[in-house]
C-alpha cells in the first residue's frame, strides 16, 4: 500500500512537470516543420524528416495527394493541393480528429486522411491559402504532429 501511495504521489508530481511537454507548442509563425518538435525526445526518423523538409531536400520524396472523389472535384475547381505528412496517425480516431478539425476551416474544400501513407490530404478553396504554421497548429489541436508539408506540384508528385 505504501508503494501504491508513493506511486500516486510521484505521478501527481509528474502531472505538474509534463503538461507543457504533452504536445508541441510553436511560436514560429513562418514555417512549420523544423521547430515543431522538442529536440529532447524525438526519434532519428522524425528528425531526418523535419530537417529534410526545412532544407528543402527530399520535398518530393513523400507520398503524393490521394485522389478521392471530393479531392478530384476540388482540384478541378482550381484549389491548391497540400499533402502533409502526419506523425502518430495510426487509427480511425486519428483520422476522425484531423477531419473534424480541418473540415471546420472555410479554406478547406476537400480533405482525406490516408492511413496508408500517413498523410493529410487537403485541397483548398480556389483563391484561399493556408500557411504551414496554421496546418501545424491545427494538427496539434487534433492531437498530432506534422513532419512535412508539400504543395502544388510537389503534392501532386511533380517537381517541387
Amino acid at each position: 500500500m505504501k508503494f501504491l501511495i508513493k506511486t500516486i504521489v510521484m505521478t501527481t508530481a509528474l502531472c505538474f512537470c509534463l503538461p507543457s511537454a504533452a504536445l508541441p507548442q510553436h511560436d514560429n509563425a513562418n514555417y512549420a516543420t523544423h521547430d515543431m518538435h522538442d529536440h529532447e525526445d524525438h526519434d532519428r526518423e522524425e528528425a531526418n524528416s523535419s530537417h529534410a523538409a526545412n532544407s528543402g531536400h527530399g520535398a518530393s520524396d513523400g507520398p503524393v495527394l490521394t485522389r478521392t472523389e471530393d479531392i478530384e472535384s476540388a482540384l478541378a475547381d482550381g484549389g491548391e493541393p497540400i499533402v502533409a505528412d502526419v506523425l502518430g496517425v495510426v487509427c480511425d480516431f486519428c483520422a476522425l480528429a484531423m477531419n473534424k478539425i480541418f473540415s471546420k476551416r472555410e479554406e478547406v474544400a476537400a480533405i482525406y486522411v490516408d492511413l496508408d501513407t500517413k498523410a493529410l490530404n487537403l485541397v483548398l478553396v480556389p483563391g484561399a491559402s493556408m500557411s504551414n504554421q496554421t496546418i501545424t497548429d491545427l494538427a496539434v489541436q487534433a492531437g498530432y504532429r506534422i513532419a512535412e508539408v508539400r504543395r502544388g506540384d510537389a503534392a501532386l508528385g511533380g517537381a517541387s
Binding site: I8, T11, L14, C15, P19, L87, C91, L96, V113, A147
Partner: protein
C-alpha cells in the same frame, strides 16, 4: 494511516481536477461516450475535450460485486504523447471525485469517493500494448486497486473509414477479488467514430463489452 491515505488521495483528486487531466482524450472540441462492462462493474463516461491534452467528463459506475454505484467528475490528462511515422505512444493520468451510493438494498450510507491512476499505450497500425491502473477509495463501500494489461494485433491494416479489427488479450489484476488475476480474450471492431469490444473472461466466465463513440 487511513487518514494520511485519504488526504493524499484527496489531494491527488483536487490536483487532477485543477490541472488537468483517458482514448481518453479527443481532439479539441470533441465529445466522447465510453461504455465499459467487465467482470466487476459497468460504467458510462461522457467527456468533453477542451484542449488536446485534457478531457473532463462525468462518469457513472455500477460495481456489481460490492453493490454500490459511483457518480464522479472524471478528468483525464494526456501527460505525454510520443510520435513516430508508424507509431504513437501515450501516457495519461486519470482520476475522479464523487459519491459512492449503495444499490440493490445495500443499506450503507453515501460516501465520498476518490480515485486516480495511470494509463499508457503504444500502438502501430497492427500492434497494440496498453496498461492502466486505478486506486479507488470509497469509504465503507470499497477500497480497490486494479490494473489491466493488454496486448493485441490487427490481422490486416484498414485505411480511413474501413472496418478495423483487432484481436486482444486482456490480463487484469484486482486485489479485492478472490480471483485476483484473470484473462479475457476479446475482439475489437473499429470503424469511423465507433469502437466496439466484445470478449469473455475465461477465468470467471463473465462477458466483457465496451464501446466508444466519438463526435
Amino acid at each position: 494511516m487511513t487518514a494520511v491515505r485519504t488526504a493524499l488521495l484527496l489531494t491527488l483528486g483536487c490536483l487532477i481536477s485543477m490541472v488537468t487531466l483517458a482514448r481518453p482524450v479527443s481532439y479539441a472540441g470533441g465529445w466522447t461516450v465510453i461504455e465499459e462492462s467487465d467482470r466487476q462493474s459497468s460504467s458510462a463516461l461522457v467527456h468533453y475535450t477542451p484542449s488536446p491534452t485534457m478531457s473532463l467528463g462525468f462518469k457513472t459506475e455500477v460495481n456489481r460485486d460490492s453493490d454500490f454505484a459511483l457518480y464522479s467528475v472524471h478528468p483525464t490528462f494526456l501527460a505525454k504523447r510520443w510520435f513516430g511515422t508508424d507509431y504513437q505512444g501515450n501516457l495519461y493520468f486519470h482520476g475522479g471525485i464523487g459519491v459512492a451510493s449503495g444499490i440493490n438494498d445495500n443499506p450503507q450510507s453515501d460516501q465520498m469517493a476518490i480515485y486516480g491512476g495511470v494509463m499508457a499505450d503504444w500502438e502501430t497500425r497492427s500492434l497494440f500494448v496498453g496498461y492502466r491502473n486505478r486506486y479507488l477509495e470509497a469509504g465503507h463501500h470499497a477500497n480497490q486497486f486494479m490494473q489491466v494489461f493488454r496486448a493485441g494485433f490487427a490481422p490486416y491494416e484498414g485505411d480511413s473509414g474501413d472496418l478495423h479489427t483487432w484481436m486482444i488479450l486482456e490480463i487484469d489484476h484486482r486485489t479485492s477479488d478472490p480471483d485476483s488475476v484473470t484473462a479475457t480474450p476479446l475482439v475489437r471492431f473499429f470503424k469511423g467514430p465507433l469502437l466496439v469490444e466484445a470478449g469473455y473472461n475465461l477465468t470467471v466466465n463473465q462477458p466483457l463489452f465496451n464501446f466508444t463513440y466519438r463526435f
